[in-house]
Assembly symmetry: C2
Homo-oligomer: 222 residues x 2
DNA sequence: TGTATTTTTTAGTCTTATCTAAAAATATTT
DNA sequence: AAATATTTTTAGATAAGACTAAAAAATACA
């Protein structure tokens, strides 16, 4: 009884998965509407449909959360999205700020063999170009140890960039411009209380980062 | 005024393009319905819509044919389809009988940059895994000299397989089984009038081919 | 506790792409 | 040319996914 889902349905499932992860609580109709850039009434409709397909549990006025099957569906879509992003950057030489929209389309291609062969072709990558974990064939995700936000680090600590909490093109291009990418090594040289900005050393130069920027960069202490 | 088309619209355009090529005459509603596996009434609707978008010329009861712009659209879709098929076979190790359905999905991905980067990644192939020409960025197609059907060859002529006129999985698997693929060299050893079957030599073995098979294999004399 | 505000749902409409059934136009045959 | 058959179009219906406007439920707050 492998349900065939429309692209729209898959997008809703993905959004619910991600909103649920943020709060660990049922996803409200309004929040989902905002994320999907649609109206609450459309969401109610869709959520009812998906609940009929038993991909999620829905209680009127109480929001919804995915069932085990819904979660599996979400992970499959996320897997495809992140594999395609990796393909676009690694093989087709796209910038990491250019791949999201194309991957949004590619993630809906239906073929298990395609996904798995692509995975193999890319040599079973564990992380995508933004540092997000790629679920494997069985939906398993590699858990990373002790990652934190750059903005949380103490003076003089050294860290390596392992991800970004915001994949928007403008932020990614900002990072590019300042030569920050996955794997970049940073040292915190200064912190300013009054605006939570900081100065970091990278590639032997000093770079000043606003709190907005440093809080969206995920790092690992070295 | 680059129109954004739905997948369904793109599929109709492609079908009209290919039916037109076969007969060089306006495509009738019924023929199109059969090709699209849908009803004539649906076709009438769609053809009216596409004619409003000036992608084709439509005269009631007289069938339709693509405009220059419709043709450009068809060639773009065909280009994507054949590039993806090439990618699937060359890079992801699919069999040539497995790629059609997946390429039918991939051909609708909208991104000029994706198509062009893929083209470059594949090293600007001129033909796809079935021997069909791949339109370039400008819709130009390499014309091949003096190709003919295997069934048309005289006794003792030597030829190389350059394409298939039928991309169905069952036919392609039949060819695979008999070690016939693009580039295979054949010599006609025997022809039987009564059923138009023939015997050909390839890889130092003799293979008997029905008329149905030999008429669907495109070859070039050596 | 009762009123006001916010959130969510319901009801009804729209568009795209499909369908069936019936009507109209064209083609074929006698 | 009339009758018959085929092809094509029109008319009306349906389903998915969206919308607006209005009703209902939940929440906040005085």
């Amino acid at each position: 009884m492998e349900e065939i889902l429309t692209q729209s349905e898959e997008n809703y499932i993905k959004a619910i998965f991600s909103l649920y992860q943020q709060t660990n609580a049922p996803v409200s109709t309004n929040d989902l509407a905002e994320r999907m850039e649609t109206k609450a009434s459309s969401v109610t409709d869709m959520v009812r449909r998906l609940s009929e397909k038993s991909l999620l549990l829905y209680t009127k006025y109480k929001g919804c959360e995915l069932t085990k099957e819904g979660e599996r569906t979400a992970l499959k879509t996320i897997r495809k999205h992140r594999l395609w992003e990796t393909f676009l950057v690694e093989k087709l030489k796209f910038g990491w700020d250019e791949v999201h929209d194309i991957a949004e389309q590619l993630e809906h291609i239906r073929s298990v063999k395609l996904t798995d062969q692509l995975d193999a072709f890319l040599d079973f990558p564990k992380f995508d170009p933004h540092g997000d974990a790629i679920p494997d064939k069985n939906g398993e995700i590699v858990q990373r140890e002790k990652s934190c936000k750059l903005s949380d680090l103490e003076l003089e600590s050294e860290a390596i960039v392992i991800g970004v909490a915001d994949g928007s093109p403008s932020f990614l291009r900002y990072l590019d411009k300042h030569q920050i990418t996955l794997g970049t090594k940073l040292v915190i040289k200064e912190r300013f209380e009054f605006d939570d900005s900081m100065e970091v050393e990278l590639n032997d130069t000093i770079l000043s980062l606003s709190s907005a920027a440093s809080s969206k960069i995920t790092v690992q202490l070295v």
